[in-house]
Symmetry: C2
Subunit: 387 residues, 2 copies
């Protein structure tokens, strides 16, 4: 297999973007990525698009072709493929792009992610998102994602030393980081009291524990490492791409507050990249709910099971801590356009490794990791990138 590098990144503003359609969003992200790589559209060999549920959100399938068309790439009739794995759709699209280049099948490949979630009737987005869970055994009996992650939080807090205040420190830290991210949906800092006094969504999770409903798109361009310097002075090498699955229903798991797919994908990624935890300078984890970040840093092995509350309280996940987590602001502050999130994570790591993250910069960052989850952990994609 050939080594692969990221040569361009682009990301729209995330938020309730009323002035932009689904099509506008991905065209914007793609154009930004092309500009970043100094490329024109005709040089693109193939495209992979992560999108969870345009069928439900905008009644549109066939997203690969739609995007190739509206991005002006059908003159060269490029292969364009949609990849879906719920909220991990972006991470899997990135992985397929990497495999396509690694195989030698393609050279310059766009991996994009897009979701337009806000332009639907009230309740419709929650119902569409439930399609990421087991519709027959979870959705039909009334479980929603806040409910499922609340069960994880309840179980976790019963078994391990994590207080409600500790849990609030996750969104407090992510909002602090996101305040310095120009694309973030919510750029204000919050306090533990903000979280504790916010509306109860699904006990023990409150409004500020939950990532929002968001419109947005992100794109990255990958190429063979040996050609990367034709396009950029700062190619970012993909050291590992890993993916794992687990039961789609939470109740079928061995342990509902441990994501075995995160453990499996993490181990595979560390093995492929031949690096250790101490080598990772920052990680973007999938904090769709605050408890998800707690589980992620444990299941990826950055601290031991049950210790993430203490680890977070000690500031070890902050910029300057042992392992900065979600320097972008994470899903909580950036927002979570589900198909785009996995690609946005890659954009953040690339910015950090290039030293272009401004006030969010982790000094001297050389190696970064992304962790993108579908559903309650039925799909997990982990990538490791390095300068």
């Amino acid at each position: 297999m050939r080594d692969v590098a990221v040569i361009g990144i682009g990301c729209t503003n995330f938020g309730e973007v009323w002035e932009s359609s689904f099509r506008d969003l991905f065209v914007t992200a793609g154009a930004l990525a092309l500009e970043d790589a100094g490329l024109s559209g005709e040089t693109i060999d193939a495209m992979y698009v992560g999108n969870m549920s345009a069928g439900r959100f905008i009644e549109q399938e066939h997203i690969g072709a739609l995007i190739a068309d509206y991005a002006g790439l059908t003159t060269t009739h490029i292969p364009s493929t949609r990849v879906e794995a719920a909220c991990a759709s972006g991470g899997l699209a990135f992985r397929q792009a990497v495999i396509a280049v690694a195989s030698g099948m393609e050279d310059i490949v766009v991996a994009a992610g897009v979701e337009k979630m806000t332009d639907v009737e009230p309740g419709a987005s929650t119902d569409a998102l439930t399609g990421a869970a087991d519709r027959e055994w979870e959705g039909f009996i009334g479980a929603t994602f806040p409910g499922l992650y609340a069960m994880i939080a309840t179980d976790y807090m019963n078994r391990y030393p994590l207080t409600r205040e500790d849990l609030a420190l996750v969104p407090v830290k992510n909002h602090k980081n996101g305040a310095n991210n120009p694309i973030a949906q919510f750029r204000q800092e919050i306090t533990v009291d903000t979280v504790l006094n916010s509306t109860l969504v699904a006990d023990p999770l409150r409004l500020f524990d939950c990532s929002p409903i968001t419109d947005g798109a992100a794109a990255v361009i990958v190429a063979p490492l040996e050609r990367a310097r034709e396009f950029t002075d700062t190619p970012i090498k993909i050291l590992a791409t890993a993916q794992a699955s687990d039961t789609i229903a939470l109740h079928d798991r061995r342990d509902i507050s441990t994501l075995d797919a995160t453990i499996a994908a993490g181990e595979r990624a560390f093995r492929m990249a031949r690096v250790e935890h101490k080598d990772i300078d920052l990680v973007e984890v999938h904090d769709c709910f605050s408890i998800a970040e707690i589980c992620a840093i444990e299941d990826l092995g950055f601290c031991r099971k049950g210790e993430a509350g203490w680890f977070t309280r000690e500031g070890e996940t902050q910029i300057g801590g042992k392992i900065p987590v979600n320097t972008s602001g994470g899903l909580k502050s950036c927002g979570h356009p589900v198909g785009a999130t996995g690609i946005k994570q890659v954009c953040e790591v690339v910015q950090q490794l290039r030293g272009e993250a401004g006030k969010r910069q982790v000094n001297g960052a050389k190696i970064g990791m992304t962790h993108n989850v579908g559903g309650t952990g039925a799909t997990v994609a982990v990538h490791i990138l390095g300068v």
Copy 2:
């Protein structure tokens, strides 16, 4: 890149399968493919699943994980990825499986396709399928797929010598072939009169010009060619995998009765396989409507533009003719569970090249081709397989 071979195939019966759920269908197809390859589930390294619109048909996304789970493959936490390109979803899932093995990333990979279309309210399937077209510029103004293909047929018949009777010969031939295919939805022969006297759907297309709404699943297993004989005495080599895109809306095309994506994908496939038209012993084309087969055999280059009517009338597309087309019965007789069709086409070619096609057998078939179309030609996948 490594050479890749098909080592196992499996297909459910296609039809209105009331007794089987979406989950039952793909588990059945996968189990048949594993049995055919003499494998157990633990040996599978990864899975790609083609599915168009489970979000609309059964309110379920996250299809890769769902299938890995219900197929009992989550104990090894395999990567499982859904691929979507409307009615070409199956063809693209097969292509991604081939790329994954060719890259060296994986060894034993399942490519599956599934769709459960009949268990919805009247009209809902037509609306879901319209998600394969341009929802904003075609769907919202009332165009459906029979309507779009009727425009292609009208344009074609105005410009080229194709009579209504010639067009009827396409489903007549496909029903004749399908009568000998145990998985086909409609296994009775029909006559030209059956077609001409059937209900008008969208002028000039009548009921028997249109592929039906169908439930079904199909699966194939691919492996590195160098390992294929561990599993089967008759490995079928993948000589080419090609994919192309075009504008999603029909009215944006250069020529609405020529599918440029078919031309592009076909040329790429012939180049990659290093074979010529005369080397192809049979082809499965995407006859979602009878006119689509007429366009396909021209755009793939088996006859010249405008000559497919004559070519069909002369029997050149029948078994025993110059290029047998749709020996399986095609989408018309087999039925068209959209995500599964591209995989079923591969199953048919593999059966033919193994010499296991029974009364449908093309004598001495050594090389076969598949042609799978998304929408009105915005995505096309072409594969060439050989013994």
